[in-house]
Amino acid sequence: MPERAVVVAHEVGLHARPAASLVKEAAKFTASITVRHGDKTANAKSIIDVLGLGAGQHAEVVLAAEGDDAEDALDRLERVLSEG
C-alpha cells in the first residue's frame, strides 16, 4: 500500500476546518485512505476519526491509500496537508 509522510502546515494543525477540508477531498477518491499520527490511525473519510488524531501544526502524519486512484489521492491529500 503506497504511503506518504507529510508535515501538517496549517497554523492550528488538523483543527475543524483543515480536518473538514481533508475529509472532503478524501471523499472524492474511491481508494481506502488512512491518516496515521503517532499510535492513532484515522479513516481519512471520517471527520470524527480525523479530529480525534490531535495533529497540531508541524506534526508528521502518514497518509496511506489502497485502490485504483491511490496515488492520485495521496498527491491531492499531501497538498491539502502541506499547503496549510
Partner: protein, 178 residues
C-alpha cells in the same frame, strides 16, 4: 440633562463571572450550561450560547456574529452516535477558556462537518471557548474522545447545570483535558 449615574444605570453592566466553580474545576462551568434549550434553528442555538458566554465573561461581544458566520461556511454538526455540533470561533472572539454546553429540547438540524450538503439532527451542542489558538487541536481531540461513543449522554441528561458541568469536566479529564 441626564447625570452620569443615570447613564451608567441604563447601561447593562457586563455580568461578572459566577464564582460557582473553582478555576481548577475544568473548562465547563455551570454558568455556561443550558440544560434544556428550546430552539428552532442552529442560528437560535448559537445566539443563545454566545449571549450566555458573553454575559458570563467568557465571550467577546463579537462572538455571536463570528460563530454565525463560521457555522454558515464551515458547519460543525457531527454524525456521532448521539449527533452533536461543536461550533467555535477564532481566539480573538474569546475572553476566557471555557466550554459551553447546550442540551437541546428537540433536535436541531446542523450542516455536517466535512461534507458539502449533508445535515445532522443535533441533540447537544458543545462550544469550546479557547483564547489560545495553540490549545485548540488538543482540546478538540479530548472533546471528540468524549463525544464519539455517546456514553456522555447518560451522565448529563436531565441534570442541573452544576451537575452537568461537573460530569463534563470529569469526562474530559478522562480524555486528558480539563
Amino acid at each position: 440633562m441626564t447625570d452620569q449615574s443615570e447613564d451608567d444605570a441604563a447601561t447593562p453592566a457586563p455580568a461578572a463571572p459566577a464564582a460557582t466553580a473553582s478555576p481548577e474545576a475544568g473548562p465547563c462551568r455551570p454558568e455556561l450550561v443550558l440544560s434544556r434549550l428550546e430552539a428552532g434553528s442552529w442560528q437560535e442555538v448559537l445566539t443563545a450560547m454566545a449571549e450566555l458566554a458573553e454575559r458570563s465573561g467568557f465571550g467577546a461581544p463579537t462572538l455571536r456574529d463570528a460563530l454565525l458566520a463560521r457555522e454558515e461556511t464551515s458547519p460543525t454538526g457531527l454524525p456521532t452516535v448521539i449527533p452533536v455540533a461543536i461550533p467555535h470561533a477564532d481566539a480573538e472572539h474569546v475572553r476566557r477558556f471555557g466550554l459551553a454546553v447546550a442540551l437541546l429540547d428537540r433536535p436541531v438540524r446542523f450542516g455536517e462537518m466535512g461534507t458539502d450538503d449533508n445535515q445532522v439532527d443535533v441533540r447537544a451542542v458543545f462550544m469550546p471557548l479557547i483564547p489560545d489558538a495553540d490549545k485548540q487541536v488538543g482540546f478538540l481531540m479530548s472533546m471528540i474522545g468524549m463525544l464519539k461513543d455517546g456514553s456522555w449522554a447518560d451522565a448529563i441528561q436531565d441534570q442541573d447545570p452544576n451537575t452537568i458541568a461537573d460530569r463534563v469536566n470529569d469526562l474530559l479529564g478522562q480524555q486528558g483535558a480539563g
